[in-house]
Amino acid sequence: MPVIFPKVRLAGLLLLLFLAFLLDISIGSVKIPLKEVFHILFASSSADSTWNFIVEKIRIPKAMTAVLAGCGLSVSGLQMQTLFRNPLADPSVLGITAGAGLGVAMVMLSGGNMATLFAIRELGISGSLLITIAACVSAGLVMILVLILSSRLRDNVLMLVIGIMIGGITISVTSIWQYFSSPEQVKDYLLWTFGSLGGVTGGQLLILSSVIGTGLIMAWLSSKMLDALMLGENYARSMGLNPRRARLVIICSSSLLAGSITAFCGPIGFVGIAVPHITRQLFRSSDHRVLVPGSCLIGALLLLLCDTLSQLPGSSTVLPINVITALAGAPVVIALLLRQKNINAY
């Protein structure tokens, strides 16, 4: 049977996504009546200006970040799983996210180094902005390194190994810095590794949306290449795929997605590896023109729900997002995989 584009399922997911968005912005440490939330969302006004501030400036940007991060990580993971034909691949497999961590470690842990001081004094950037920029720069450098290496290699498996090695190197360097840092610095860095969806607002949110949007469009446009790659590189080449160009586009878009999210939100795990599997099961399809938008929606939905859970309504503390994604997500994937009759997954 020819493949029918599953419009109904996608529309259903979109609706669920909207509902999850509403749920996420209605729940928080400060109790705000649902009616007021709607007022603020649709009419941008409310009796209480504090509530306005909270919903408009804190909750909505956070929910939007969750949507962007959910979309980006899922699609990035999908691309990595297809490119390497490995069901365990995730966005961090090329070492980009570890690269972002390296930049952050440089600012937080070896804080007195030349680059940081230069940035603080001469460029006038500091604090979380500096951290984000450092992460972007270092992730970008790793991406360029990976792209250069990919153009020289013929084999995808080698790429995987190189990515893991890069990840290993950055982790080692970070560990060295941690070893020589004060406890406060180590704690700061540790908190960064827990991930956080808050704090991406205004200009930063705009930048993140553009980068994610670009990455998603690139990924969707490379659907045909991804489909061909599923048969293996030999068949793909025999069908007319240019493996170098394919790798370039896929690695580029996957790195943009994973790198930018890690730079702005810290490393968020699990979403990238689990959502493509959930999507494939739900849509029973391997067509990437369906899987890319499907993963987007499911990833965004998942992360919104995790964010809602992390807020522990009424309490003043918020659990780190990484904790929730792992605790909530892992059982879901295990259940899904066990239900499959064929253990030969992917």
Binding site: K224, M230, N234, S238, M239, G240, D287
Partner: protein
């Protein structure tokens, strides 16, 4: 003179291992494949058949020489142009989950479909034709990881057919198939070549099937020994015999089959005619006997189902070969 579908000139294949060059076909080979021809590439394991095929398909660079398809050097073609000229069926296993048969066959339209993968009416027609030609309609909706080996092979063939190229190259397409499937596949390829005018080049171990369907056989005995010609010529010149020569097997030019050489050959006298006698001879040979004029034991086949064994003056009758052989073993143990 029409341009041959494949024109190979001065070809030498092999690959580069860090500092060493491994030559799999010394050549230099100069070969041709015409439209509508089925060519079988035969040779022992490890002789270099796969590398030669992949070089002709453009997946692998040759060490020397060039390959032209439809008059154009494959190395000068863009990947899409090459994909519109040659389609492949390889030994690679594709076991992607959730990929159904139709989608896999549809992927064959990659070099023709739109940049996002959209299929036109022409594409769909090609897919339908491929499905029917390869006979995969009965399991169109199934996921490919639930297919048997034979069904899987057919699906990969359908995909290659959907690609609609003048040349079809298959690497050991009959491996993992049972005998009826093997025969059916070879017959299908032969028919395809004749009816569609496609050129089909395949590598196989199935010497006996190849002898029946191939228009031309390329025999690659080892990197420096390459023979090509009509299969019958290769039999008569003794090329097959030499290529597969081995102390335990013998190529029977008469039947075009390989026979196993047995040890401990003892003589036995056999008389009789027809099919039963022929098959009795084979059974005796398996038991380690050879037919002679003089022997302590003699066997006579009468009609279609009656055997008489005479030994030391005594005669015994049997109604099937199995009991005959059992008796033989008892009286002549070794």
């Amino acid at each position: 003179m029409t341009t041959p579908l494949i024109q190979i000139r001065g070809l030498q294949t092999g690959y580069q291992l860090s500092d060493q060059k491994v030559v799999t076909t010394k050549g230099p080979l100069t070969l041709e494949v015409q439209r509508g021809q089925l060519v079988c590439l035969i040779g022992p394991n490890g002789a270099g058949k796969s590398t030669l095929l992949r070089t002709i398909a453009g997946l692998h660079p040759p060490l020397k020489g060039n390959v032209e398809i439809n008059g154009r050097d494959i190395r000068l073609l863009s990947p899409i142009q090459r994909a519109q000229t040659v389609s492949l069926v390889l030994t690679d296993k594709v076991r992607t989950h959730h990929l159904d048969v139709y989608s896999l066959v549809a992927l064959g339209r990659y070099p023709w479909s739109s940049w996002l993968g959209g299929l036109s009416d022409k594409d769909r027609a090609a897919i339908e034709w491929a499905i029917d030609s390869a006979g995969v309609r009965p399991f169109l909706d199934r996921k490919i990881n639930t297919l048997s080996d034979g069904e899987h092979q057919k699906v990969m063939l359908a995909r290659a057919l959907a690609q609609d190229t003048p040349l079809l190259i298959l690497d050991e397409p009959t491996a993992h198939l049972d005998l009826p499937s093997r025969i059916r596949l070879m017959r299908l390829l032969h028919r395809l070549a004749r009816q569609t005018g496609k050129g089909v080049l395949l590598s196989t171990h199935e010497l006996e099937l190849a002898l029946q369907v191939a228009d031309e056989v390329w025999l690659l005995q080892d990197p420096s020994a390459f023979y090509c010609g009509a299969p019958e010529d290769l039999v008569l010149t003794g090329a097959f015999e030499a290529a597969f020569a081995h102390e335990d097997i013998r190529f029977d030019k008469q039947t075009g089959t390989f026979t196993i050489e047995h040890e401990h050959r003892r003589p036995v006298v056999l008389s009789g005619e027809g099919l039963a006698a022929q098959w009795t001879q084979r059974a005796l040979q398996r038991e380690g006997y050879f037919i002679s004029d003089e022997a302590p034991c003699s066997i006579r086949v009468s009609g279609a189902a009656s055997w008489t064994m005479t030994r030391d003056g005594k005669s015994y009758s049997f109604s099937d070969i199995s009991s005959l052989l059992q008796a033989l073993k008892k009286t002549d143990p070794q």
